[in-house]
């Protein structure tokens, strides 16, 4: 990994530390990956001149050229299918899907080719493709712009699925995903892209945590909350809200949805006896179902209450005037905490 040179600034802080939003951290992470390896390409709709509809690839085509940042024709299967061919040739393509709801024309290529090439060829063919997917709701959008389809991909053997929830992870995880020799679906919490409240100092000379590992982001003893992507912030806010009542909530950011790193969750549940899994996705046959199943298997005698889930409902994503009902919020999370404690 190329590290930026450290220079003293006027306030004495090293310039390798920058205060970044998630969106800007992703942008700088992509830039660092492209500087480190000239086989890294960016492909997608409007990722070049425009810098992407969310501006995550802003300025990259200008600096790396049209042969490394490709404004593609408008077809998702084409983006992913050609990225696979480029990867077979030795490139490391990073595809941007404009919104999660538009990934499905490319689903066939992801499931039938990307996920299976390595297995099919007994390791002879690697397809290190990263597919960046802005996901989640809360932006008042029309249909297909607010969904959380990550469980569909976590279900597919051969794919790895991760999600970042803060600027430090955004900066490092995207670079780690690009370096991975496996295909990675990279889910980005779109409503937090430009959140000033989440701005955080990112040290580009630091040593990052492993990519496929969960992380305990807040210690607690009363109950455990586990979440990923945009729901991590909801859980942290909930933990803060009940702190002065004496309720101590532990919060775990999954980060990796496939493979799941649940050891820290098991360890936590053995201490707290209670687990609430939070996600914007529909609950049926989802990441949160998987967590519930595995925790009851591993922590059966430690559980003081059943594993509860706070999720989107098992409906299509509603019209945006109803989305605040659909999305897990602080009150619904705390309601679940109350139920768990009262069991």
């Amino acid at each position: 990994m190329m590290a930026a040179p450290v220079k003293a600034t006027t306030d004495g802080a090293p310039s390798s530390v920058q205060n970044l939003t998630i969106g800007k951290a992703l942008n700088l992470g992509l830039r660092a990956a492209m500087e480190a390896d000239d086989k890294v390409l960016i492909l997608g709709e409007d990722v070049g001149k425009l810098g992407g509809v969310f501006r995550i690839t802003d300025g990259l085509q200008k600096d790396f050229g049209e042969q490394r940042v490709l404004d593609t024709p408008l077809a998702e299967s084409g983006i992913i299918g050609t990225a696979i061919g480029l990867a077979v040739r030795g490139f490391r393509p990073v595809c941007e899907i404009q919104f999660e709801g538009f990934i499905f024309p490319g689903f066939d290529q992801i499931v039938s080719q990307l996920a299976k090439l390595h297995y099919r060829t007994q390791g002879g063919v690697r397809a290190p493709v990263v597919i960046r997917v802005p996901f989640g709701g809360g932006i008042g959008a029309v249909e297909h712009h607010s969904e959380s389809p990550e469980s569909l991909f976590a279900h597919i053997a051969g794919l790895k699925v991760v999600s970042c929830a803060n600027p430090v992870d955004a900066y490092w995880m995207i670079q780690q995903a690009i370096r991975s020799d496996d295909p990675v679906l990279f889910f980005e919490p779109k409503r937090l892209y430009h959140s000033g409240a989440l701005k955080a100092p990112v040290d580009t000379t630091a040593t990052p945590d492993p990519l496929f590992a969960s992380r305990t982001v807040r210690r607690g003893s009363t109950a455990t909350l586990v979440a990923y992507g945009p729901s991590v912030k909801v859980c942290l806010d909930a933990a803060t809200a009940v702190e002065e009542d004496g309720t101590s909530l532990e919060v775990i950011d999954l980060r990796s949805l496939s493979p799941l790193d649940l050891e820290p969750v098991f360890e936590s549940v053995r201490r707290t006896g209670r687990l609430i899994a939070v996600s914007e996705a529909q609950s049926e046959s989802s990441i949160t179902s998987e967590i519930a199943a595995r925790v009851q298997q591993e922590c059966f005698y430690s559980l003081e209450s059943p594993v509860l889930r706070v999720t989107g409902f098992d409906t299509p994503y509603p019209p945006s005037k109803l989305e605040e009902h659909f999305l897990p919020d602080l009150d619904r999370v705390l309601h679940a905490v109350d139920r768990a404690l009262a069991w």
């Binding site: 084409g78 299918g81 480029l86 299976k116 991975s180 493979p259």
Partner: protein, 412 residues
């Protein structure tokens, strides 16, 4: 240009009304024509009767093909057909789970395959056993897929031959991306340029991935030859279920050349493929080739073509056989004598016998193979699942040995 009526049924009222069970005579004839006549635009160098035609644009691409070289192409086709027939028979005997016959498509596959250079890359669908053979892949390596011992085993980079792709049309996009990579790496633009060829069928032309492959290749000037083997049938559906137009004409709408070649003429397939690859090497890709051919056998060994096509059609195509026309030509021009043909047949029989022997002795893969190479970097959870299952199997081994020692069954 072909006349549209070759591709459509007669207008309503043109003859006695048809019923679902009973097509009109006109419909029968129109259907036969549509699937047997390539039309005036068909590029052909060797007629079904073995007569060498002159073709000013393409002769220069096969100027090096003398009688000896033609004998080699003949040998390739005979070996490939013999192996195909052997594999088909082995499926019937329960040694293969399924076989995908290429009978009738030997010229399209050998001609295009022999046009490739080692530095080129080919992306097959799942019927390209003949192309695989031309890329130096041992026919025995194809059997595992159909016997169920592996999904693909050859070294794709060494052979310049991608794994088989079974989902219809997927490989067209993958090949296009690969060709874009060849261009991005600066491997295109002169006589030493690289190119990619991708194989798909008439049915695949209806897939979005094929249309998108055409768009991408055109937009990025990708050095890719789209080699469509129009074998007239997508399982039970004739080409008229996929297109109003002759398929090669689709290229025009995407802005690159399309050409229809007699897919049963190995010389024409070689010449046209060399031309198309040459265009790609020099940066003038992509090119669409429609190889007009015929699937002489079933779609796969599970298929029954008597349910949907006329035996008359098969009889018509037997007269256009890709191997027979080369044999006739070589015999008539003195390019080969009977001893040569006998030698090739004997070699093909030995080839088939070796294939059979190999197939019968293929070991089953060990159970741990299930868990191998799912990822480049495996996960603890998957490793745990593997260990748990292997321990479970190990339990049976222990039980068996215990059972054997207590009852003496092991000694019987």
């Amino acid at each position: 240009m072909s006349s549209p009526e070759q591709w459509t049924h007669p207008e309503p009222g043109a003859g006695p009304a048809a019923t679902a069970a009973e097509p009109t005579p006109e419909q029968v004839i129109a259907g036969l024509r549509a699937t047997t006549e390539g039309g005036a635009e068909l590029t052909q160098l060797l007629t079904p009767e073995g007569e060498r035609l002159a073709s000013s644009p393409f002769d220069s691409y096969v100027a090096d093909i003398d009688a000896t070289a033609l004998c080699e192409l003949y040998r390739d086709m005979v070996l490939v057909r013999r192996a195909d027939r052997e594999a088909n028979a082995m499926q019937r005997q329960g040694q293969l789970g399924i076989w995908v016959p290429l009978l009738g498509q030997e010229a399209a596959q050998v001609g295009s395959g022999r046009a490739l250079r080692p530095s080129d890359m080919a992306f097959p669908s799942y019927r390209e056993h003949g192309v695989a053979y031309t890329r130096g892949i041992d026919f025995r390596e194809l059997l595992g897929i159909f016997r169920g011992t592996d999904h693909s085993s050859w070294d794709f980079q060494k052979h310049g031959f991608h794994p088989y792709t079974i989902v219809i049309g997927n490989q067209v996009l993958n090949a296009t991306g690969y060709a874009m990579g060849q261009k991005f790496e600066g491997k295109v633009g002169d006589d030493d340029g690289e190119a990619t060829i991708v194989y798909f069928g008439d049915g695949a032309t209806s897939q979005g991935d094929v249309a998108e492959g055409f768009v991408w290749a055109a937009v990025y000037d990708a050095p890719v030859v789209f080699f469509c083997q129009n074998n007239q049938w997508a399982i039970s559906e004739p080409t008229e279920r996929q297109s109003r137009l002759p398929l090669y004409q689709r290229a025009r709408g995407y802005g690159f050349p399309g050409i229809r070649v007699d897919g049963n003429d190995v010389l024409a397939c070689l010449a046209v493929s060399r031309w198309a690859l040459d265009e790609c090497r020099h940066g003038n890709g992509p090119v669409l080739i429609e190889a007009f051919t015929y699937r002489m056998d079933a779609h796969t060994t599970t298929d029954d073509p008597t349910r949907y096509r006329l035996s008359d059609e098969l009889e018509v195509w037997k007269h256009k056989d890709p191997i027979e026309r080369v044999r006739v030509h070589l015999a008539r021009t003195g390019g080969a004598d009977q001893a040569f043909f006998d030698d090739v047949q004997a070699e093909a029989d030995r080839f088939a016998a070796e294939l059979r022997d190999f197939c019968f002795n293929m070991p089953d893969p060990p159970p741990e193979r299930i868990f191998a190479n799912v990822y480049a970097e495996s996960s603890p959870a998957l490793e745990a699942q593997r260990e748990e299952y292997l321990a479970y199997l190990e339990g049976f081994a222990t039980e068996d040995s215990l059972a054997g020692s207590s009852t003496g069954a092991g000694e019987r």
